[in-house]
Amino acid sequence: MAYSAWVSLYEWDLVMPARWVGADNYRALVSTEFLEVVTNTVKYSVGVVVLSQALGLALAVLLNDRTRVGALLQASIFSSYVVSWVAVSLLWIWLLDPQYGLVAYLLRLVGVRGVNWLGDHRWALWTLVLVTVWKTVGYPMVIYLAGLQAIPGDLYEAAALDGAGGWQRFRHITWPLLTPTTLFLLVTLTITSFQGFDIVKIMTQGGPVTSTVIYVYYIYEQAFQYFKLGKASAAVVLFFIVIVALTFAQWLAFRRRVHYLA
């Protein structure tokens, strides 16, 4: 414990010299380049969070039974979550290869011309979003499943007796009772998607041009390719503030939730 307290103190001491250079590092950050990084990060995050949460919820609701088939499907969908980002990224570069890739072949079979997934600056970021959702959707699914299993079954029976259909039961029982889960996932997925790095480093190196440079990759580039440690540290500090703010928002949301129930 003393160790982690010590490290956490040291972190900030080491960031301080960056500040002594003046606010220059922060001023250097305010640029069109940085603005693009922030825009990319927000696009990537929103894409990943919205898609994986919606898909995760849908899968959880449909798979919420304790049959063997259900368990098998759950496990297959979750499996990618434990596989290394490096392997997943390499695999998808190969699958999306414009010439020999499986995806291009399958699309040609159904007569669709695929886009240049990773080579086109209009598509590359969204391709990363799709691959990320493919890899991580199992996580919101199992968290939602845990949330669903906490909902008492008699609520549904009572609603069914009152003549509520499937959609109505979802709308008035499942969805409101899952609100804490949804909030939890919203914040957790936002924070983890802000941390996206491996997939960019391996699949696109930020390209084409700078269309897939997202936040952590930017910090990495500044620190280890341009050796601007001061600027990188300034970016780290901003990043930290955003994460603390998000966590605080989550805490507030949860507290309000508890008041509602009480």
């Binding site: 982690s4 969908i77 990618s80 979550y81 290394s84 695999l91 499986l102 391996i202």
Partner: protein
Amino acid sequence: MSPTRVPIRALTVAGLAVVALIEVFPYVWMVSTSLKDMAGVTRFPPTLWPSPPHWENYAKAWTSGPFLRYAVNNAIQTLGILICQLFFGCLAGFAFSKLRWRGRDACFLIVIACLIVPPQVRFVPLYMLFSKLGLLNTYASLIVPYAVSALGTFLIRDAFLQVSDDIVDAARVDGAGTFTIIFRVLAPIVRPTLVAFSLFSVVYHWNDFFWPLVMTTSEAVRTLPIGVAMLREEGTGDRWHVIMAGSMFVVAPVLAVFIVAQRHIIRAFTFTSLK
């Protein structure tokens, strides 16, 4: 069940099966590609099962870099981190749950605060620290930053709190020392928590690419994910059979464990995040 229900149910199952197929088939393709030769990789239309299978791709990938070194390093890193995290987690969990001391709750708040600091925030300052200490490119730079896990401490404390103080007192009366109480009495009782956390930690660190990439430049301490990522940089694009074979070195152990212990692993990931 009304007659319209049956087709809806069948459609749902079919839809879910398609999703599961989309999730799993790429791994089948990975294995299939890893057994092709160059001609098979670029053949059009692509074939699913290469004949004859080219197992030598695995040997090619393994010898294209010091992969034995990478694998050993990966194991040292993953297990080193796990042992430290469990050891310190049990000690701190005990101090935070079964001992009373001034400032305990304040210190515990600091631990909770550490939970929200991701490695991507710490790497720049820690990199500078380790380079000042001359510890870059050592196992220490891979293991020490993760030696104490806030999450682990939190989970273990929580589990220890569930154990009645009477058990601790009884052990003490029997003459057990603090270490015996922690590791011989309490740890076995909270084994499910320890197992769940261990699975989580091992999967995370075995796959970790970011931290070793930042902290190491020397092949002597680099790990499998880095070695595999470098396979692609070595050659031109069409060596996909070798790259896929190499990827299996990272993927296969995790998937093998996952297939055997899927229920435990899914529970571990749910448990570690919902607490």
